[in-house]
Amino acid sequence: MSGFLLRRLGGALFVLLALSVVVYAAFYVAPGDVAQIACGPRCSPAQVAQVSEQLHLGDPVYVQYAHFLQALVTGHDYSTGTGVVHCQAPCLGLSYQSGQQVTQLIVAKLPATASLAVGAFVLWMVLGVGTGVLSVWRRGRVTERILTGITLAGMATPVFVIGLLLIIICVTALRILPFPDYVPFTEDPEQWAWNLLLPWISLALISAAPYARMTRASMLETLAEDHVRTFRAYGVGERTIVGRHALRGALAPVIALGALDVGSMFGGAVLTESLFGIPGVGRELVEAVKQVDLPVVVGLVLVTGFFVVLANAVADILQAMADRRVVLS
């Protein structure tokens, strides 16, 4: 088991390194005056020269990349001409357009995004897996067809449609909820939850659909397996067979998909954040792309990648703990 753990984490680290190389190359080795782009259109030639110096653009590409990596691991001191700014590890560089450090910028936005992602994740897993189980349990009956219809509708509906509908119903018409306004958890947990309820529900409603379909398909597959026949032949009831044996066998791909989705959601749920005015990573990314704020875009892509890889590794390790055959293979 510990060997498996080491191998899996080592693999994750390797993927992250590869990702950083690709992202770095895509943005900094691309044609065009990188210093000018990073600094922004209003920079003076002197400022551009300083940025070029700070990014070590005069050095060979691999040295530039090495500096970038080193900053990530040990931090970096940037001279601003008048003094020195220390960027603590993990340092993702400076945003020359806003004058802030990229890491601090992202860290400031993460709590909102994390709140949205984790809450929605819990809700959509319960909803998705629950719907899947129910439609298998009632298979061949009307309930299943209705559930399948709803699921299909959920997959086809964009998040802003559901979000707007929810706002119109709950906020404007029924007035049971305030218009969402992000309150940090550390300030007031109760308000935090109330204000995030609508974003959670909208995100969960559309995200749950693929989970319901996958749970259903995967469970039906398990139900066709020999060991299910064994338990039927021993008088075990349908409820136990569906709830205990079929679900257990069906969860692996569902968990894997969940890890992928929740990980990428840490990189920001752009539409949902914009719709509900949540000051999260996703909105930051939109802004950065709009202004071609290169260091911020690179930083955000890396952070998203980090969470996806992390979530995947965690899912694999959970999988291995639940099913020891994974370790053997």
């Binding site: 397996e225 020999d226 060991h227 026949r229 064994t230 338990f231 039927r232 032949a233 021993y234 008088g235 075990v236 009831g237 136990t240 044996h245 257990r248 066998g249 639940a322 099913d323 020891r324 055959r325 053997l328």
Partner: protein
Amino acid sequence: MSLVEVTDLSISFGDVHAVRGLSFSLEAGGALGVVGESGSGKSASAYALLGLHRGTGAKVGGSVRVAGVDVQAAGDAELRGLRGAKAAMVFQDPLSSLDPYYAVGDQIAQVYRVHHRVSRRAARARAVEVLDRVGIPEAVRRSRSRPHEFSGGMRQRALIAMALACEPELLIADEPTTALDVTVQAQILDLLHDLRRETGMGLLLVTHDVGVAAESVDDVLVMRSGLAVERGPVAEVLGTPREPYTKALLAAVPRIAPAARAAVGADPVAPAGRAAEPERTGAEAEVLVEAADVRQVFGRGKSALAAVDGVSLTVRRGETLGIVGESGSGKTTLGRMLVGLLEPTSGRIGRAARVQMVFQDPVSSLNPRRSVGESVADPLRARGERDESAIRARVRDLLRRVGLDPEQYDRYPHEFSGGQRQRVGIARALAAEPELIVCDEAVSALDVTTQAQVTALLAELQQELGLALVFIAHDLAVVRQVSDRVAVMRRGRIVEEGPVERVYGDPADPYTKQLLAAVPALDPALAAVRRAARKELAAA
């Protein structure tokens, strides 16, 4: 009242009538073997005893009464009360028949709790008790293992333990030993035999293997295409069969005893005994393939496993070398090295001839999206033949040679039966004009009558073309039937090699003796003697 009373049972899946008008009964404590080839409806009938066709789309007619329950009329709850408690079932593939995610003991305890209102702890204790009864060592500890941590034989024991948990009146065993090695099969059959004597439960044994039935049951019912052919006491049906089909079936079963073999080969034109023509494969015949101390190691470091561990052998023109061994003995790996599909890790293989291979599974070794003619033409094209009409003519020739209709050139593999597909595989091997064909379990997936036809074809081709054969199989009887010499493999090594008559008649190695003692005998009386011999061997 009988324990099982089946009257006019019919089962159909869509347009396919799997079982037609089947009636039989089984008295309490009796043992009935249902024997038939694939597609005879024997498994479908067994499933009907527990009402397992319910909700599957199969149409079941007639009446089935098991342990006082009218299976056709019973409600779901009553049926669940029958399943596992009064009649329990053991399935063919013990790995897939247990849930991979739960400990074996928990699965047995779960079944026990379905039928008995007891605490989890008490159910768990019962699970350990039955696991211990079926001979799982350290039952307390092993009950916490998952199925994949068990060997094949232990899994089947665990499944039998599950069946025993509720002390059923009837045990239905559907091909319980088909997926197991012959020595393990013998252990499981002995276990079933002992359990039956001890608990007095009835046994309904479904099997394609006449020998397995002879070992285990009192009465036998022979089925063919959904109909009962013959029923009677096992010694009578197997000893003096009345029906032509039963006679043909028994004649096709490969024998391990030389006397029986002579009876099979009672063909006045070609006295088939290999021993009668030793000059054909004299020691002076040309050596086609020679392996010298070959090893094949899979994996590295601590997980390295020597699948073949220092094997030397020669194959001469025109002879048949049989290689027998149980699963994991390295026989297939050796075969692949002889053909050149695998390079040995060390050692040397000298090939002085064209070598081809015929594989076990004729379904998966033919491309389903290409016509059989094209598959057979592959080796010709691979050798650079470009003339389409020549290729077509040659393929038609080959198809005719293996007993297929050359007009079937453009048909696809799924349109053929298992035996026909294996003929296609042989035609494909012949296309390259080999001097040696390695047959890796080439007839293992086939029914006995088909098996007999394919081995006959191989023998015929061998005589006609002067082919050498390496015949790899786990079935000792088949190997005996076709081989001149035989090599017995175990754990990557050849433990014994020699002329078939010598190795089978007077085995020198203890493992060979053990293997031969494990082969089910067709004669129930002989089976009892063998069983005693196995007990002695085990005690020794």
